[in-house]
Amino acid sequence: MSIPRGLQDVVDAVLRSKTGIIGLSILIAITVLSTLAIVYVPFDVAREWNNPSFWQYNPRLALPSWVNTFLGGKLPETIIISNDSFRKYSYYLEIVGLKYCILEAEFLYPYKDFPSELRLSLYVDTEGAFVTIRWIQPSGVDITIWKGSFKQGLNTVYISRQMDIREYIRDSLKRLNLTVPSIVNPEVILFMDNSIAHSESIPVNGRYRVRVEAVSSDPYADIEAELIVYGKVYGLAGTDDKRRDLFVGLVWGAPIALAFGLLAAIATNFIQTLVGSLSAWYGGLIDEVIQRITDVYMIIPFLPILITISVIYRIDIWMLLMVVIGLSLFGGATKTARSMTFQIMSEQYIEAAISYGASRRRILFLYILPRLMPYTMANIVLSVPGYVFLEAALSVLGLGDPMMPTWGKIISDAYSGGAVVHGLWWWILLPSALIILTAISFAFIGLALDKVVNPRLRER
């Protein structure tokens, strides 16, 4: 018996070998991760992944939170001071016809490292207001960081990035007779002890206050504020350059990777095996034609044609799946299934079946194809990683689905976002680790299956 007869053999083989068990456990872990996706990610990922405002409260390029435990907790987390945390005083001086609105918030900064960014949003509910923003350090040093007029509506002050703010800070410090440090980043300056020169290494811990003073001629003027002190760590997997929680992307990528890989592998292998078997079973001209088609198919430049299609037509991931299957209707498995079918055909019980009048189609489907199942299964398992990486490869090239967060897309974003050049290891390595683990799990299971199914590798 050179072709195993049962699914039982197959399952046994996997459970019996060490590699099979390892592979299976990793696969189970990833499947669990996939189901986590449904629970953890209740929103429409494809849409929100590309929606910047959804992620605006996350820091950019933040490390995963657990890294902090190795660093003694020094890296800051994001502190969000919403409008409710601001104490508001407003009063209207009739004499001068001016409304004064003062918002003040206080927060504790206990971290040993500076924040990554600072952002203040002001909602001005009047035609225009003149606003002064002051930053008061724990030591009492009162720095004016901005003075000017704001239009009606939402105004965002990117404290860390705006050049004018740096001017204001510098002027403030000069007036207070403090040293203007050589470092120009506001998120550092505002947190350090400016009375000592060269004290840039650690931020001052303590209670910080932010004070927004708005003046308007409108008696009904109102103002709301929101301050975000962006940290350097976030979540289980950190964030990318668009502030997206990578954990969401990773978790969401799991079912996509599995689905894509499995669907492609199953469809391709089933079709190829069926075709190969038909080719041998019906023989003659059909066999010849199918053989030639298979030969041609195997030399066609698969990837370049895939690229051509992707460039000319915008396709999403499921369209991609269809194209991939279409380009893989014939292949190596066709030939092997064909030769295996020939082998089975020469066995006598097939002759017997024909002689007692079973229809050809019945014999094919009831007797022959089931014998090919273990082989097909091994092939399916072994080809899944290839398809998972194919999707990733297309993402790296800049093709592939632009909306969906797949592992490939994350890796490709990381690569083009300079993760490699800047050492943003979590952005590249976490999705890479997941993809590698998935690939290895299928490879190990496939290896265990291969031992049963490939008669040549068995011990004499």
Partner: protein, 350 residues
Amino acid sequence: MLKYLAKRMALLFATLIVAMYLTIIIANAGGLIDNILKAQLRYEIASNLARAPGWSQLTEEEQRKIIDERLQAAIQAKGLDRPFLERTLRYLVDALTLNLGRALFITSASGSKAVSDIIIERLPQTVLLFTTGTILYSIIGLLMGLYMAKRPGGFFDRAFSVFAIVTQVIPPWFFGILFIMVFAYYLGITPFGGMVSVPPPRDPLGYILDVAYHMALPLFTWIFSLFGAWAYIARNLIVQIAEEDFVNTAKAKGLPENMVMRRHVLRPSLPPIITVISLSLIASWQGAIITETVFNWPGLGTLFYQAINSLDAPVVIGLTVIYAYLLVATVLILDLIYSILDPRIRSGRV
């Protein structure tokens, strides 16, 4: 043997035609190629006319009329108004003769916009890196496979099989990204990519060393990623052959072990080994596309990447045509080698 080769060549030619025609149909399904060609024609006509005396005297209206007339004539002359089948067959002939048109955005270093020039310019770099890499990993893999075939079932054999399977599922470009991070960023011993430093050294020796320096990591990645699976396949083939009766015959004849290995184990293993190489080379050529992109190596792969990003369809189509040729050429060469190595083919039996 000739009959065999003739049959194979016919098949390969058919493959070439099918691959190219498929590409053309896909590309032209929405009339893309037609549009590009028409736009090119219009551009040529317009720029020719712009140099004609008295052109600037005409009104825009008149100019446009003349251009349109000429364009119509040109379209008819070139057969661009014929039915879909005819048009695409014409394009097919163009593709086969490597008449690949002009690029939309990309220009070759020599300033030409002809797609074939652009591609030919990049071809040597790809060949340099990947042919070297493929030859090296084949040899290393074969030696390793031979070594393992002599001690089957040993610890090394089993440990290596795990290595082989892990490197088989993970594509080279993926290792590339990881290795760049490790060796270029963390260890700083290799460059991040590219083929030469900027600015490149002037003297020839310095230039060669610079290229070698840049080639080191991609080459290492390519070999590391591919020799394992290959060694394992070679090992299996050799072990299988080593169990055959004729090997026992050779041993019984009292031949020295080296001779038995060389003549009676390795030599008969070569035909199936060639078959396997053939398949993996086809995959390699395509994997090279992304590996090059990752390493920013200025070959066909990065050209693909650039063409994708600038949506330069003529270049993408041209590259696909070239790849069809490359794959067919590879298989042809290997078929030739196979027919030399396996006498069973020569008499047309297999």
